[in-house]
Symmetry: D2
Subunit: 282 residues, 4 copies
């Protein structure tokens, strides 16, 4: 099975051209998702192709698409399934998001191969050890911040990491880091963005007396907490919930929003479009 | 704008053929929704086509599709937008579903033209009068049931009704009626089907102590409460809610599920597939 | 039936004292809701009392409570049920919130008597006329703003209005107005506050690419959009929804959040505590 | 801190009597939840008492309550906090519910001490070993069923288990077992009961074409799938979801409903009332 992700300026006949190319080589469309943004005339698509009866080699099929892709002035990407994305998980102290990811990987809910867990604190080492996953403790307090991020970047490069998950990693990323790994870093923010940007969102939510709290899974950009949103989740709360209760309830939002966001990304169901994310849900 | 709805046995190249036909006449795809049921090899699609730059007359474009449609062994249907479905609303006493529909029609949320309101009780006549909509009071108690349904069928035929909405119409429909108007009758059932089939579902829900109640919008078939489900809605309830409270809270579920179900149907976003409904959500 | 609402500094024995007072006069507790905020040692309660077997006159029972209330340094309030709050609805052009309120009043979902509808535009006059409710068209564009609000204040005073509902009333209220009717004005804001404060929240939500939109029902204070939140509602949205779609979907959030917020207020289920609202849900 | 749970026939003055008893010994009410079922005149309450300034020994305070409890013809129960319920988890093959419980115990979300994990298959032994929890593999296929349940009962007795969690334990329990551990067994059923009772509920849900699936956490009674419901959770599904997708999505419903249900039970927030459960949510 092959997944094709494509975006290009809108024009007549795109679907016909893509579908015809696939059909002409005896591929079978399993799922075709398309979105035309009429506000700015952009076209986005995600296609699942059954390649079991292709009349050419898979590599030739993929290479041959370039002629069409270029004529459409498109950006496109093929991924052969099944696959596992090489993934590093960045953590600080809290374990709930880490645990959620590890559990879903073990259930085959998420097509990831966890190459390592990276922590600026040592708290999650026990979990890594239990699961037999390498753990890198990277000191980055105070003056060590820059060298810490250089260290992490080296790990990501050395391990050929395709996806970095910030699973409640409590560090502000430097711009160069965001840019080097642009589109490959997913964060979970513990509020319903854009509400309660910044520190201590559950305390802010308590003080404001909101009736729903939330969590936001988004791509990381150098503009803190403003990256394209992949998924959000909310939960009803009561006046009787203390800030600690909100944190407890919020953990469930975070786990759910992060897990779904990773899944959408891993299965190529997301296309970044400026500061928005197109998400073809499943 | 033209909406095409199509279902056929699955086979290679369907999307390519449909999209190529449209592109070959200079139509532009605005939205393409497709679903392949791999369990029984059926293909379903809904297509929105911008026809402003077609190179043939619309009628020719539609007629010309027949060659392709037949070769695919498809069932298909075109609808030109904007349009208004000629719609009758069947009611008994309660007004909340009726009110919801009338309000949404007035807001242009639902593309309906209400031809008349039909009641086996006179309770809703006041509302019909206020809105300037004809009201038919059809007596159908006891022995009058059969003649009552014959009367209603005559009204639906005479008014060229395309859609009949059972907005809490508390009568069991005879088979012949379900069959004559098959696919054209939408009901709102006041429970989360298939739970609590039958009379007094809110009382049943109270007795069972459920923590969520719901409502189900479905196509009417001769098998009572078993027609294809279009939409469902639920709401959390507490032990402290009496059966009357459940009725009150349930009304909101009913209004929402019915309004969304009608919208999906009216915009041709539903395809009936046996006792299931394919619903391309918007 | 009598509703008692009370708040006071926390101290030992409050519940015992209140419940004993009621029992000593042969009242029966139907519902007792209590919340102790341990962060700032405040006590809040709402009590429903069956007064059918009271051993004194209702007026004496209420008057006699003052001794206890004062000893607790409490603020308290009794309301005899059934009752109807004299209510004015303030509108501009859009009708969905107005319609929702009128429908719920007619269903006895909301214990309100609508004294009048006040509009700074004439759009809603048709609805008012249909329902036989007085409509005041108050011009308040540009220079007329101040005199407009004075006019509205006079109407509220003359009609002995106990509750003013801003049902998508698109005007910023002057401080003096907020203060004169403090605790008696409920607004529906068309976003999930505190996100997207200010103009055009649905456009802001589209631009930010959020995956959920919402609405917030809150008490009006002179600090715009920062009043105590009574209720919030959210709804999932997709990348394919245009700003117009968000407005359409948002209307449902607004109707639901506003209706529930009004209900909580009308049945004395809310207690304002600084910029938060205690809400004893039903 | 002390938790009191009480139910009795409704009568005047119950709250006053209970609260006065507590106040008379200088206890402080932290939380008072009460529900009067007017349909059958029953009174239910849950009280949290700060006992730090009691003027008697805790044991005396508890013992002394008996006079009042008996005069009210009540059933009541005190629990001193903090506490940990001795809990056994019964499993078959699937791990998601087990993992969820273990994770929440480690986060102090659930006040449980897991005494052992009991499996009629060996699949979950790895997890038990990792966490250092004893694992009992009890064979119970075919003829071994009765001796298997006797074995389990012995384990529960020997380990002084206060709560048994059926975390997707795929065995029908014999009546004697349900009765011996009545009120101490919590099950998670993988459907929105009472819909889809019996085998393969996700397949049933697929066939019926429902738009929401769910899970139900309930007390176990000898009447299969009919025990008092503690919590339910639902999730929206699409026509494109296969039965396997429904299982995957359903797992999240199961984890959430089970975790919340256990929490309510463990903190004495539930009172069984016939085949309904009163649940004072937090």
């Amino acid at each position: 099975m092959l997944i094709l992700k494509l975006s290009c300026p809108d024009q007549h006949g795109i679907v016909a051209k893509i579908a015809s190319y696939i059909a002409s080589h005896n591929g079978n469309l399993l799922e075709f998702n398309q979105f035309t943004n009429t506000l700015d005339s952009k076209f986005f698509a995600r296609v699942e192709i059954d390649t079991s009866s292709l009349d050419v080699e898979l590599a030739s099929f993929i290479a041959g698409f370039a002629v069409l892709g270029e004529s459409l002035k498109a950006q496109w990407h093929f991924r052969e399934a099944p696959f596992k994305l090489r993934t590093a998980i960045l953590v600080t102290k809290t374990t709930h998001c880490l645990n959620e990811i590890l559990w879903r990987v073990s259930e085959n809910d998420l097509p990831l191969e966890i190459t390592s867990i990276i922590g600026n604190r040592a708290h999650c080492k026990t979990i890594a050890d239990k699961e037999g996953i390498p753990f890198h403790h990277v000191e980055m307090d105070g003056e060590l911040k820059n060298t810490g991020f250089e260290h992490i970047a080296k790990i990501l490069r050395d391990e050929h990491v395709q996806l970095g998950i910030l699973a409640r990693f409590m560090q502000i990323l430097p711009n160069w880091f965001c840019e080097e790994f642009s589109g490959k870093l997913i964060n979970i923010h513990h509020s319903f963005l854009p509400a309660f940007i910044g520190a201590n969102p559950y305390r802010q939510a308590y003080n404001r007396g909101v009736k729903l709290i939330g969590a936001t899974c988004h791509y990381v950009t150098s503009d803190l907490d403003a990256g394209p949103i992949i998924e959000q989740e909310v939960k009803r709360v009561l006046h009787s919930h203390s800030p600690q209760d909100l944190m407890r309830l919020g953990r469930d939002c975070e786990r759910i929003a992060l897990a779904r966001g990773i899944r959408y990304h891993a299965y190529d169901r997301t296309i970044i479009d400026g500061n928005r994310a197109i998400v073809f849900e499943d």
